[in-house]
Amino acid sequence: MSTPAASVSTETGPATSTNTAWRRFRRHRLAMAGTATILVLALGCFLGPYLLPFDDTYIDILQRFAPPLSGVHVLGTDELGRDILARLMMGGRISLAIGFLAMAVAMAIGIAVGVIAGFYGGWLGSALMRFVDAVLCFPTIFLLLALAALTEPGILATTLLIAATSWMNVARIVEAQIRSLRERDFATAARSVGAGDLYIMFRSLLPNAMAPIVVAATLNVAKAILLESYISFLGYGIQPPASSWGNMLNNAQIYLTSAPWLAILPGLAITLAVTSFNFIGDGLRDALDPRLDVN
């Protein structure tokens, strides 16, 4: 079953040249702001800890709940006296890494399923898309149960869980794209020269379907970061003492009134990152979709 929304966007022409795309992307101010933010965040999280004097796991229970800007700890300390800036950075590493990893896994599975279903169509394609529909019927928290049977909570479990909830939409988008592209001239031409199925699928068709895939990818990173905090809320997230923005936010709940910075800071980080990725996705959509060349 095709979603009408997907069918509307199947009329992309040949891939837009990267130059034009880049120029259009640059014009999208919010997307540029988003990119800059992500770069700053990523750099801060990956390089920052080397510059800081504090370790993110060093506990000092005499220094609990120091507010930001009150002493040596720039952003204050948390419920165990650990430096929050250090934890934000190390947590950022994990959250951003999970975001990208989960996206990559979801993309891989989704693209594989979508391409095969879209290319072969018929019985196989139908069965695959029905399977996608079946998995879509399971709420996230239920998929968490499936994971509980396989692994312990932690980075791997979180990544797998997020990927498991995101690959379905990718598969749908890809399948719709491939299905419309496979009858096009360049595909027929490739086939007439004797190219094998795999070649046509992955070297001929897929590159032309990249636009919505790239957009979906960035949006999936955004969703992944948000989902990570949801999974921490459900009790299956990153294990202590490692910090992630999600589990920092979760742990800060009970201190919302007594030490609000514990919740505000990771919340801000999450919102900033997710918003930025969403804008980047928007910008990419505008940049790669030539139909939006209106007046």
Partner: protein
Amino acid sequence: MSDGFSGVTGPTRRGALAMGVGLAAGVSLPASLRAAQPPSAPKGQVVAGVSQEPTVFHPLMPGIEVDQGVWWQLFSTLWYIDPEGRFQPDLAKEVPTVENGGLSADGLTWKVKLRNDAKWHDGTPFTAEDVKFSIDLINNTAFRARNRVGHSLVHDIKIVAPDEIHWRMESAYSPYMSILSLFFIVPKHALEKASDPNASPFNNAPIGTGPFRWGERVPGDHIQLLANTSYHGRGPFLERIVFKYVPDLTVLYTQFRTGQIDYTGIQGVLPNFVKEAKTLPGRKLTVSPTASVEHIAPNLEFGPLADRSVREALYLAINKKGLIDALNYGLPLPTESFVPQQAWSFNKDLPAHVHDPAKANAILDAAGWKRGSSGIREKDGVKLEFSNSTTSGNAVREQTQQLLMQDWKAIGALLRISNMPAAVIWGEFWQQSKFQSVIVGVNFMLGSDPDVTPRFGSGAIPAKGGRGYNTYQYQSKEADRLLAQGAAQFDLAERKKTYGALQKLIRDDLTILPLFQSVISEGTKEGLQGFSPNINTSSNCWNMREWYWA
């Protein structure tokens, strides 16, 4: 056989006072709670907030602590134990003892006289038939009873009069008196007609003899109970009680603050809110001890933890004071024993914990645990490395784990944290000893009886096919000897000595690493009188019949 409560002979006032210690546990009531006078007719309502939903309303079926809170309002027991540890009759006219003829000298024949003025909520009079029915029901193999401990020994139940019941025990069993103090009686006339004893309309429209009767229930939201004006005892003084389910503890506290809740029950006010709660205008906070002992449970068959010197070193390296004062805001009571400090069997002479990392290091060095290149100790190829688990989402426990991790790293032990949701951790993982170590709070007592054979007996290891819950996999001949001895003794003084020795043994062997005895902080709105924590009943809601608004 001596005076005073031995579990088989009933308690005598003289005996109890002579013992000097609380019979079960003693908590004194603050005088202010007796200030105003209760109203002559039930007035007003109390909204009790609880963070778990009560779902079981048949008091003989498996239920959790919140369910008990509701049972205390709907049903009655033959007798109950008050906060001072004294047995008080409820449906029974008097508590059976050897002196009043209720108990035979050998503890095998019981003759219980019952009230004849108690009525079920539908008007039917309560009789001895109901008591017999309840005991028979629990022994009915088709019935999903919680457990049959004690009840399975009862046979030959004779109803000599509507208000008198006799039975015989197969063998004398000390804890049965206190087991009966938590045994709610169910109505024969309402339940005998059900074809399936486990599923009857009674389960969701219960009929009891308690101070409150069933009002309504909105699943997932609240339960409303209404005053039973023909209650046979003192009270009730409230028209209505509403048990409101609020799943999030922070939100529970917030609703208490804004006044939407009059009383915070299970799991009470979180420790980090207690200080602020005490200063809230129009609110009162009561911190009371529970029978639960928070400890680190090692799997004694797992690598490094099987070595006693390792456990000793780990225990020395724990900063217990920091744990209690900082993470728990100084509320719980440090302890060395698995017995609550208010119990008669508590041994107060156990060696106190000292925080001495230097000594810990020395012990490990002497035992052959050498530091490796990474700083983690090793012996015979085994690393001093293990995992610790607890229920995920428990903020204070997770902080405890991380503090332990740092303290133990200093002595060369590597701790890994592996938390999981409650349904997972308490499943096979705990029951079949698949864990390496767990932080857990356990009430070791059976009622108020210190018989811990199912917890420490070598025949009680489920992972080895035993019957019990010795998930620590503790095996000690001396412990087995003491356990057998204690269960067969009836003299209170002798039992105290036996169980005292057992506590010392467990402490010396460091079967568990005891941290503290838990407390519960409960908030009430100012003006609410009658609230009285009771460590001897299964819920601090036990006496809601005596609550009233001043």
